[in-house]
Amino acid sequence: MAKRKKKQVSIEKLKVSDKRKRVNGSLGGDIVIFVFLTLLGLFMVFPLYYSVIQSLKPVEELFVFPPKLYVLNPTTRNFSDMFSVAASMWVPLSRYIFNSVFITIVICVCNLFVCCCAGFVLAKCKFPGDKALNQLIVTSLLFASNATWIMQFLVMSKLHMIDTYWALILPSIATPLGLFLMRQSMSTIHDSMIEAAKVDGAGLFRICWQIVVPNSKPALMTLIIFAFQGAWNLQGGSLIYSEELKTLPTIVQQITMAGLARQGVTFASAVLLLIPPLIVFLVAQSNVMETMANSGIKD
């Protein structure tokens, strides 16, 4: 261990000297860049920040004009109100939350499973048709589900999936983006490990799940983030018309439609939708960077 630590220090030192050798901009340039990024960053976060602030404001502060950018007496009233508003609806709010959580978990798990299996094969196996399949995946990156959902509606109505959980879950499982990222990061794993496992008599499935997948943790986390975002923000649209199968985003939109009088509740529900993806992203952020570093399309 001690040896390892020593080595790390020397690398650290090396990096510093690297920097000195590099061309460096002037201090003025640095400041300009920093100010520019900060301003742009403020524009980016302001709506998010403001939604959170609004959701914490008590009624007296919500309608103060001009609006304040901070909250004096933070309260969770809006969140509890949200449940009581929803209680007057057909279906309790907890059902929508359950739907969203359920769908999100199922989509994430299935998406990971399917993409790991297929990603491993495309990255590491040679078989007739592999080149064509790789090409197909790269091309189909274009057709994310926001482009194809109208045509998906046709397919699903033929399969009698409209107005079931299937309509929400199945289309989001086999995502080209997930497979692509998985393939890219798995192809960086050394062949020698796989060869060794083959010699030991492991089947493809075992090689995939006991050797390759545990070694692609960053990619797994990245897929979780993308799958989570997609699933958590999923709106049934015209695929779902039973009230008890609708998801949280749908109901947030309905609350929003109720207008400004229920502003606190509106923002509370928006924040409820907003927070989980942000947390998941923050937790997995460094893994994402590692995976995306392999994301390039090479011909």
């Binding site: 990096k15 050798k21 061309v23 901009g25 990024l37 742009l40 960053g41 976060v45 709506p47 998010l48 939604s51 004009f65 001009p66 499973f113 399917v114 299996c117 297929a118 491993f120 094969v121 495309l122 196996c125 078989f127 007739p128 091309t139 189909s140 990156l141 274009l142 057709f143 994310a144 926001n146 482009a147 194809t148 109208i150 045509m151 998906q152 046709l154 397919v155 399969l159 199945l170 086999a174 080209p176 493809l204 993308f226 975002q229 923000n233 015209s238 985003p249 400004l260 502003q263 928006a270 992203f281 923050l282 952020q285 994402v288 960077m289 995306m292 570093a293 994301s295 390039g296 090479k298």
Partner: protein, 313 residues
């Protein structure tokens, strides 16, 4: 069977097809692992995309069987449907802003972030990526842009004396398009931005050192002669993401200014397809619209690939 397991050379003599068949049999495990993905992918991505062409030639209202009508949908689309032409124009405007513009912006922001302290790097990456994770904060934008004198922009502008009366940002045709573009830009830094951001970390540091010795004087020179050429694959990936995103804009507009928006001012191809597909249930016509959209995306992708490929080689 047993002696065929070894996929060795002599089999090639038996002919190409037999050899392929043999390889398929040898590798059936691979197909087994691929199957779950491929089945779902075929049903929910491949079939919908491919189906849009044949369905585009029919009249189909979801109740009666599809009826073949030849090119009539496409005739109507390009020659008789003024709204579609507006939609094409708007989609192109959106595509320019949320495509190339946002792409270049992502690149520059990623580049600027990359020079910073690790903590600031993480913070800024989060800040710029966060909006693309959210679909629910339209409420805030609605408050900011609200058309009465309590809308924040209106209030500020009237206080400063720049406006005499509140402007209807969400219903006035002069404002709808720019407003939706701004909100669209706000959420446009998604996977592509992350890929570019990560691409910077991939670059071999010694390249910069060598560059400094060769006499590169400033950041700009470094950017164009070292950084961009070594990021080709990431740039291609980001381009694909950006195209896919910018051609299918519509949801933001739909939530912000309604569907249809006043005078179709923010109507995009995607909105048009939604209108016919899930409101009027004219699926044949909607398919034709989708096909045009898919074809445009593929063409744009080919074009960008060609451009980037030319620049990077």
């Amino acid at each position: 069977m047993a002696k065929n397991v070894n996929p060795d050379a002599p089999l090639i003599k038996q002919g190409k097809w037999k050899y392929t068949w043999h390889m398929i049999k040898v590798n059936k495990g691979c197909y087994g692992l691929l199957a779950p993905f491929m089945i779902l992918f075929t049903i929910f991505t491949l079939v919908p995309v491919v189906m849009s062409l044949p369905m585009g030639f029919t009249n189909f209202n979801m109740i009666q069987a599809p009826k073949w009508v030849g090119f009539s949908n496409f005739y109507t689309l390009f020659l008789n449907d003024d709204t579609f032409l507006i939609a094409i124009r708007n989609t192109l405007i959106f595509a320019i802003f949320t495509g190339p513009f946002s792409y270049i912006l992502s690149f520059f922001i990623a580049w600027l972030i990359n020079e910073m302290h690790p903590f600031l790097k993480t913070l800024f990456t989060f800040v710029f990526y966060a909006p693309s994770m959210t679909t629910s904060v339209y409420v805030t934008w609605q408050l900011i842009l609200s058309g009465d004198s309590y809308g924040y922009i209106n209030a500020v502008m009237m206080d400063l004396g720049l406006f005499n009366s509140p402007q209807q940002f969400l219903t006035d045709t002069r404002f709808i398009l720019p407003v939706v573009i701004i909100v669209q830009l706000w959420i446009s830094m998604g996977a592509g931005f992350l890929a570019i951001r990560a691409g910077f970390q991939n670059i071999d540091k010694s390249m910069y050192e060598a560059g400094a010795i060769e006499g590169i004087k400033n950041r700009w020179q470094e950017l164009f002669s070292i950084t961009i050429p070594s990021m080709g694959p990431q740039l291609l990936f980001a381009a694909v993401m950006q195209i896919s995103q910018s051609f299918t804009v519509g949801v933001v507009g739909q939530n912000l200014v309604g569907l249809p928006s006043t005078d179709y001012a923010a109507h995009t191809i995607m909105n048009h397809a939604t209108d016919y597909g899930s409101i009027r249930y004219e699926m044949g016509y909607a398919s034709a619209i989708c096909f045009v959209l898919f074809a445009a995306m593929l063409l744009a992708n080919k074009g960008v690939n060609w451009l980037l490929g030319k620049y990077l080689d």
